[in-house]
């Protein structure tokens, strides 16, 4: 997506509308880049995380790291991927099976997202789906901004503002302050943490 204001400067109204949208959707502007960066980090570290999971699977596991997933089986947490999301393993007769499991606190359940016998492949499937989920988020965010602008400035064509907002949200980097305070990604920003 190219900058919609590249060839023609924003009008005064577009400037004002953009400012209001940025204020109104400040949380999205903070959360989206942080989540995108977490996905990018996983993509970059697939081999490293898979190796960590293989090592964890080869070790004897401690009871506190055992969770009961929605398939009725017990899984051992291997690596923290994101907040409430873990790469897990369970022993099978000829090695180990791996799964990405998300804990849903409200339901008290552990949902399996991806599973397989190769930790790297499981992770790749998971990160691929995360990319698609980010795309759903982007589309919804754009729609929310359009709705906000239509309500706030009825009858005005502010499509360039909505485009600029989406571009800002999807391409801006996470600030240093954000990456420190945003617990969601903090756990795995400095390498891979293996569960003991």
């Amino acid at each position: 997506m190219s900058n919609p204001f590249e060839h023609r400067r924003p009008t005064e109204l577009e400037d004002k509308a953009h400012g209001e949208a940025v204020r109104h959707f400040a949380e999205h502007l903070k959360q989206f880049p942080a989540s995108r960066e977490a996905v990018e980090r996983l993509e970059r570290d697939v081999a490293k995380i898979a190796l960590a999971a293989n090592i964890a699977a080869a070790k004897p596991t401690s009871q506190p790291n055992v969770i009961l997933a929605d398939d009725g089986a017990q899984w051992h947490k291997s690596v923290d991927l994101m907040e409430n999301i873990h790469l897990c393993h369970r022993p099978i007769s000829y090695g180990a099976e791996y799964a990405v499991v998300e804990h849903f606190p409200a339901r008290g359940t552990n949902e399996i997202w991806n599973r397989g016998w190769n930790a790297g492949e499981v992770l790749k499937s998971f990160t691929h789906e995360q990319r698609q989920a980010l795309q759903v988020w982007t589309e919804d965010m754009t729609a929310q901004v359009k709705e906000f602008l239509a309500e706030k400035f009825p009858g005005q064509d502010l499509s360039r503002v909505a485009e600029a907002f989406t571009l800002k949200c999807t391409t801006q980097a996470v600030s240093k302050k954000q990456s420190v305070t945003h617990g969601h990604e903090q756990n795995h920003s400095r390498g891979v943490r293996i569960q003991n």
Partner: protein
Amino acid sequence: MENIPETQEQPTTPPPERLAYSIQEAADLLGVHYFSVYRLIQGGKLKVCRALHGKLLVPRTELLKLLATE
């Protein structure tokens, strides 16, 4: 001293139940980050509908179904 007539409390009608929630509201109700809600939508585990401008809305019935599936 004048007797104050007892006032009878009028029965209040409860506000009508919401039919659908925004992603943010759904995330709050489920107690998860909203990226998790987008993940559920993308994974086909949570059905949504689209409002004007394409904004996603989560029907109340779908949220209840998700919470009851376990």
